[in-house]
Amino acid sequence: MFAYTIRRIIATIPVMATVALFVFSLLYIAPGDPAAIIAGDQATPADVERIRASLGLDRPFLVRFGEWVWHIIHGDLGTSIFTNLPVWHMIQQRLEPTASLMVLTLAFSITLAIPMGVVAAWKHGTWIDRAIMVVAVMGFSVPVFVIGYVLAYTFALQLDWFPVQGYTPLSHGFGPWLSNMVLPSLALGAIYIALIARITRATMLEVLSQDYVRTARAKGLDQRAILYVHALKNAAVPIVTVIGIGFAALIGGAVVTESVFAIPGLGRLTVDAILRRDYPVIQGVVLLFSFSYVIVNLLVDLLYTLFDPRIRY
């Protein structure tokens, strides 16, 4: 298992290299031009051309890619074309809000969704099952921004329980931090509550119909023990998979949530950077995403072996 972990970590290098090259070439072919944006609307075409040259954007693809890789090897993610700030600094500024949003979202989702899914499967076919599933399905049949607006309108503007927007760093206190994050995490979490509850229910149903569970039931074992010891443990594999998979999707949802609630996170940094073609920032963020994704999924795979010893590596 240890050797496996090492192998997987080494394997992240080609993954990240592929992603980097893929994104770099995609951006290179794309016609967007940061020089035109820097120059502003009133600049003349000749000015734009000069700015492009001074940014080094007129150089060939391989030269630019090679230079970037060279800097990465030396631990330098480069500087933003627009702000002249180091990319690593810009990412650091944004890391905490996004991490907070994701952690809270996952925490809310898991604590709400797994019991929902378990109960639904246990009471399969009854009105409880249906009611839970309808509630869960509501969660992902409405786009995150609509949920966000409704939450903000109800709980911030009308009831005044939480702020409409913004982010307070954890260092300013747990209370203020949480009060800023509750609405965004719930808005973003809705879809994961639905997803995790459904998968939990589906796999629980699967497990509950397995022979050994039916045997246990027939033997008159305590219902709760069956549920926890046999069923939930076996259902854990797909649930963990979904959480691992959800990580990348979380980033997509985070972009929208961060816009709606004006949270200074990585999602907005990414979209802003893409729209402005701030190449060093896009590259840095994508590297970070693929790195954390690989790590999260490594953890997920390791958890598989924990929950289901039949899976070996």
Partner: protein, 533 residues
């Protein structure tokens, strides 16, 4: 050498000061520091208003950097960093003297070396600066506080050039920063304006913080736009970037921000009903919408095709799509110039008045040889003003029998595509949209979009010798009457050439909390003399 040593020692001092300052904010906050929370029109992605011309960047730069002269609300340039000037009778020699006590945010004194380096960088980028540079014999320092322009041609608009508000602005920076390539963005944000930029607190795309510069010495006169005493009554001005209009409205209603620069006009009735808020027109000079055609390729290389679009274009449609139902916010503009300004004229603008003539337009298009080839319409869908105009244009072209290829793109891509001179089928384009601040459309100097110099002109590359001659005539005009005559002729020739198609004149609101006082109408947010109850 001496200067460098001095620099080092002041750096050390300022290091100590800023070290002490680190502990300050929390203390200051506890004692109720005066903080203004402002929502700007767009994300502040850079800070160089010489290398770039984005409005939001200019607005931030005007707080950090000071100018030698500054325009007031009558568009007259008044001395700002300068004590005054002398000019020879032939307008060829301009001598300026700096005020005493000007210091940069790093503690360094402002000298003519900084001024000359800054002006040299600016002259490369600015249209008026280029005019000065073209006839410049020397720009020389007489001493630490006096400097002189020696020109070989008369230039009467020097003060306006140094004090104008449209970018590139003649901002005065320390020499070491001003040495930056004029086509590269500066990376150090040290000015001598009323507020310091807190680079350490800048989160691009989310927030920017300006802090009162204690050593700033405002002029004795009352502040008026960029002129007079810029008295900062806040310790901190915090810009919060809220790209989502619904969120910005909520934050303002909830008292989480104090001032929203550009509220969406459809939300204004709701904001007006809120008793804690004040809503008013922000910039009396407003904006002019623009539909820009490519003059290099068929069908719009033929003036008849361009005129056909103008004949059918309904400015009311465009303006309602852009600003909404409020009739106070827009008016038709049969002109290329900002209404309400001294030189305003409607000469040649009849083609935009009266009933729209679709049949006539179709006929004219046929005469121009249009045979249904696709018209490539670049639409930046991430900006509401350009998107609304693009949607109306698609409808308009359809009505006059044109075949539209609507290309939904982001602004970054439109910015790159519109610079391409390739044929429309091969990566080029036929039409894109933008808008110009009315404050920049008061005369030809800041008005690059009206230039018709062919290859060197703005995107679309219009070419008309008559237009160019009219612009030259304006530069030579000595008095208002002569300027007016030149502008009337310019307007007429620009319509004849259809340099671009104005889609109307529109205003925008700004909204702020009633606890603020001193908010004024201007083409840029004015933070001095504003205070919070």
């Amino acid at each position: 050498m001496k200067r460098r040593d001095f620099l080092r020692s002041t750096a050390a001092v300022s290091g100590v000061v800023s070290g002490a300052g680190l502990a300050m904010p929390r203390l200051a906050r506890a004692q109720g520091a005066r903080v203004l929370r402002f929502v700007p029109q767009a994300n502040l992605s850079s800070l160089d208003a010489v290398a770039g011309t984005q409005y939001v960047v200019r607005n931030a730069a005007l707080i950090i950097w000071d100018t030698l002269y500054g325009i007031d609300s009558k568009f007259e340039a008044k001395p700002q960093m300068c004590e005054g000037h002398e000019v020879s009778a032939d307008f060829k020699t301009w001598t300026f003297k700096l005020r005493e006590g000007l210091t940069f945010h790093d503690g360094e004194r402002v000298t003519t070396r900084d001024v000359i380096a800054s002006l040299q960088r600016w002259m490369v980028r600015d249209t008026m600066g280029q005019k000065i540079k073209a006839s410049l014999d020397a720009l020389e320092a007489l001493d630490d506080r006096s400097f002189r322009f020696r020109l070989n041609k008369p230039f009467s608009k020097m003060l306006f050039a140094l004090g104008k508000s449209n970018a590139p602005v003649a901002l005065i920076m320390p020499e070491r920063i001003a040495r930056t390539d004029p086509f590269k963005l500066i990376s150090e944000y040290v000015g001598s304006g009323p507020m310091k930029f807190r680079t350490d607190e800048w989160v691009p795309g989310a927030s920017a913080v300006f802090e009162k510069f204690a050593a700033y010495q405002p002029r004795a006169e009352k502040g008026d736009w960029l002129s007079g005493g810029k008295r900062m009554l806040f310790d901190r001005v915090e810009w919060k970037i809220l790209p989502d209009a619904a969120t910005a409205a909520g934050a303002l209603q909830n008292g989480e921000v104090d001032w929203w620069e550009t509220p969406v006009s459809d939300l204004v009735p709701m904001l007006k009903r809120n008793k804690a808020l004040e809503v008013a027109i922000s910039d009396p000079f407003g904006n002019i919408g623009s539909l820009r055609m490519n003059h290099l390729y068929p069908p719009f290389n033929d003036v008849r095709a361009r005129r056909a679009v103008l004949m059918a274009l309904s400015q009311a449609d465009y303006m309602q799509a852009v600003v909404g139902d409020d009739p106070e916010l827009w008016k038709p503009l049969p002109s290329f110039f900002t209404p309400g300004t001294p030189v305003y004229t409607e000469a040649g603008g009849d083609i935009l008045k009266g009933k729209r003539d679709y049949e006539g337009a179709k006929k004219l298009l046929a005469e121009a040889g249009y045979q249904g080839e696709p018209i490539i319409l670049l639409v930046a869908t991430d900006i509401s003003i350009t998107k609304a105009q693009g949607d109306v244009t698609a409808d308009l072209l359809k009505k006059i029998g044109m075949n539209v290829d609507y290309q939904a793109l982001d602004w970054g891509t439109v910015g790159a595509r519109r610079a391409k001179k390739d044929p429309p089928g091969k990566g080029g384009w036929h039409i894109f949209h933008t808008w110009h601040a009315g404050a920049d459309c008061v005369n030809p100097a800041p008005y690059t979009a009206l230039d018709a110099g062919g290859d060197a002109a703005w995107f679309g590359w219009p070419k008309s010798d008559a237009v160019q001659a009219d612009i030259a005539a304006w530069y030579e005009a000595g008095d208002l009457a002569a300027e007016k005559a030149a502008i009337a002729k310019l307007d007429e020739d620009s319509f004849a050439n259809v340099t671009y198609a104005p889609t109307g004149f529109f205003l925008q609101y700004q909204a702020w909390s009633k606890s603020l006082s001193g908010v004024v109408k201007a083409p840029f947010p004015v933070f001095w003399d504003v205070q919070k109850a």
